[in-house]
């Protein structure tokens, strides 16, 4: 019985981090949007771990590991590609 509670907490966790979407929309610089994305990545790991108990699928733990790695790579890719030093803090503009 207690395992089904985990699924409810996964939904609650999703609800709480959806507020981060407001930062994605508002955030004046690209770094603000990136850190909201990092929040979603970590919440994804948490939700998957909770679902692995709530739905009784132990393989979801490995999926959460992959999600964690992906969010790490996303952060590095962002800093490397989307943020040119010395430009002002606008996002999306690739100057090459």
């Amino acid at each position: 019985m207690a395992d089904q509670v985990f699924t409810g907490f996964a939904v609650a966790l999703l609800g709480t981090v959806i507020i981060g979407l407001i930062r994605v929309e508002r955030g004046p610089s690209a770094a603000d949007r990136m850190l909201a994305a990092q929040l979603f990545g970590t919440a994804g790991v948490g939700i998957l771990l909770l679902l692995s108990v709530g739905l009784g699928m132990p393989s979801l733990r490995d999926v959460s590991l992959v999600f964690g790695l992906l969010s790490a790579m996303a952060a590095v890719a962002f800093v490397k590609r989307a943020w040119h030093r010395g430009t002002e803090a606008r996002d999306g503009e690739a100057r090459r």
């Binding site: 709480t16 981090v17 507020i19 970590t42 590991l65």
Partner: protein
């Protein structure tokens, strides 16, 4: 309700509360650098308590070790990402917020 079930539910409440605090912090703090602080609280503590709750329900040492390693990965990746983002923000001229 065994002790481990009650304990894991308490840990889940605490973990979700930290995630909520982190999200509200990301929403309400005044600039990038302070928002990064809020993000790491959600990252480290929120996920840590959730990992503890799941490990309490798992019952095997190898599973607990894997869960702790997942948490450690998120910790290290989050620290590195925060540093990179803050450094890039500084280099592109975003000034830290001062109390007006």
């Amino acid at each position: 309700m065994t002790l481990s079930e009650v304990g894991s539910i308490v840990l889940l409440f605490v973990g979700t509360a930290f995630f909520a605090a982190g999200s509200v912090g990301v929403l309400r703090f005044p600039d990038v650098y302070t928002r990064l602080h809020a993000l790491t609280k959600a990252d480290n503590l929120g996920l840590g308590f959730i990992v503890l709750a799941v490990a309490l329900r798992s019952g095997s040492f190898m599973v607990t070790a894997k869960l702790v390693l997942i948490w450690a990965l998120v910790l290290v990746a989050g620290a590195t990402a925060s540093y990179l983002v803050a450094q890039a923000a500084r280099a592109s001229g975003i000034e830290p917020w001062r109390r007006p």
